[in-house]
Amino acid sequence: MELFLQQVFNGIMFGSTYAIVALGLTLVMGILNIPNFAHGHLYMLGGYLLFFFAITLGLGYWAGLVMAVIAMAVVGMIMERIVYRPLNEQPHINAFIAAVGSLLFLESFAMVVWGAQGLRVENPYPQMIDFMGVTMSVQRLLVIIGAIVLILGLHFFMKKTIAGATIEAVAQNREGAMLTGINVNRVSSMTFAISAATAAVAASLISPIFMLSPAMGAILGMKAFIIVILGGMGSIPGAIVGGYLLGLIEALGGGYISADYKDVFAFGALILILAIKPTGLFGKGEV
């Protein structure tokens, strides 16, 4: 029972990361119809920027986190402006290729600047708490709480602010939104900023627990894609539920199915589901 609860706890923690990262991706995919293959790499860069601000510049964890998030928002805006906006009117396949280009660029950028070997951000809260027989480090708890705060904040932003409402309007009907005079380019830019910033939050929360490496974005990015495709493109609840679900399945399944092949099952399931329903479980259309 205690082992089970421990696994549930870990699953929720991983799920928190998945949920945040998938959230950022679903926003971009829903609004711009662009599959940002580099989204996992934005997450990776967020982690390294935390390292840069918190450790290299010595700003400390929280100031570093804030700086990393701001910096990533800017990175997201630059990416939208330079890479994706010029491809708006071109065949979709060109946007995928540009996304692969950004992914290669970001990964080797991290490799060149910080090296291929892993880096560690010192854990600011290494204390352990024992709760109902489950040991949890404060930092792990922080990941979970941070994710909840972020999700609630984003929900508030989308529902209660004008900026959030315009994003939703564009997501639902791009042409219609254009007709009502919404500046779609500005919305795109803002969405990319939010998407990259949330990825940075996820990376900042979890990097004191795991090593940073340039390759860490690739698999996470793919998992985020799986969540988004299954949860429905542009669907925020889909991304959140899907994220936590995948975290739990992995944590609980890790003991029963081979750890080596764990990702094979997740990816294989996606292939089969899309073979049966090519537009995703809750998919409305196509990209």
């Binding site: 660029f105 990964e107 080797s108 894609f225 495709i229 294989g268 996606l270």
Partner: protein, 329 residues
């Protein structure tokens, strides 16, 4: 109907002769190895071009099918089967897996297809690294023998022990593949591939079975990837999971895009120019993917037709201008 201007034909003849004579002027064994690898990657990239460039399906599993060919040849030759039998068999396995994956995934469109094929690519990579009994795990399979000599009347058997022989083997494969692609692409069949890429609903409305067309293109492209992988394994005399990696897929993608999507010489040009260029720019080695990533973005935005496509467009402009001049005078 599909003729080329005379200077283009001349250029091809010059390149062909230069390629035939290459073993006699290549500076050293290392560069020779780079060139042979380029020939093999050129084959694979041409296969990807059929799917991506001509049919417009953004496959990101090409490295996986290259790997299936490589492992197929490695495993079969280890089991004592002749390379000459193992190579077509491995390519057929690649094609068969391609058929299954294609039928499962080609109903998806655009981004979904790209991500699903990427998933398959990662699965192949994980399996290659973990199915130790079959693939040797992360160490892979090494110490593969040379292909058995082919008995040949008058000249005696052709041996495949030297780099030169390996080069001609790869070159022959490349030429056969290009010839086959040339026939496929410059025909009504090739037009139906481009029809699917260009306007799927209309292709459907004029009576083209678009799904079957995509599957055929995907299977043929992966067959070609399998051939390339098989030759790669015998050339390296070994195979490891990196031969199935998605990084390899991205390399093929770079060759196709920078060389020129939907042109026959483009991917081959890319597969040559880029690695050779990198050899001369050794000091940039660390920045390799940084540069290629940026280049990929710049090219797809500003020159989506790539190097060869750009040249072709220039050619057309010159031809149009000449036509104008003759009609004026």
């Amino acid at each position: 109907m599909f003729t080329k201007p005379i200077h283009t034909k001349l250029l091809y003849i010059v390149i062909f002769v230069a390629a035939l004579l290459l073993p006699w002027y290549v500076p050293d064994a290392y560069i020779f190895q780079v060139v042979i690898t380029s020939v093999i990657f050129g084959i694979a990239a041409s296969g990807m071009n059929l799917i991506l460039g001509y049919t417009g399906q953004a496959t990101l599993a090409h490295g996986a099918f290259f790997g299936i060919g490589a492992y197929g040849v490695a495993i079969m030759t280890e089991a004592g089967i002749s390379f000459w039998l193992a190579l077509p068999a491995a390519a057929l396995i690649s094609a068969a897996v391609g058929l299954v994956v294609g039928v499962l995934t080609l109903r998806t469109k655009g981004a979904y297809f790209a991500i699903v094929t990427l998933c398959f690519g990662v699965i192949a990579w994980i399996v290659a690294g973990n199915w130790i009994e079959l693939t040797g795990g992360h160490n892979g399979i090494y110490g593969l023998g040379d292909p058995t000599p082919i008995p040949f009347p008058f000249f005696g058997p052709i041996e495949f022990t030297t780099q030169t022989s390996m080069y001609f083997l790869s070159l022959a494969a490349l030429l056969v593949v290009l010839f086959a692609l040339y026939r496929l692409v410059y025909s009504v069949f090739g037009l139906s591939l481009m029809a699917v890429r260009n306007n799927e609903p209309l292709a459907d409305a004029v009576g083209i079975n678009t799904f079957a067309t995509k599957v055929i293109s995907f299977v043929a492209g992966n067959f070609i990837a399998g051939i390339a992988g098989g030759i790669y394994a015998i050339m390296m005399a070994s195979v490891s999971p990196s031969a199935t990696s998605y990084l390899l897929t991205f390399n093929f993608l770079i060759f196709v895009i920078l060389g020129g999507m939907a042109t026959l010489p483009g991917p081959v040009f890319g597969a040559f120019a880029i690695p050779v260029l990198m050899e001369f720019l050794q000091f940039l080695q660390d920045y390799r993917h940084l540069i290629f990533g940026a280049l990929l973005i710049a090219v797809i935005i500003y020159f989506p037709q790539g190097f060869v496509g750009g040249l072709r467009r220039l050619n057309q402009k010159i031809a149009a201008r000449r036509k104008q001049k003759t009609s004026e005078s």
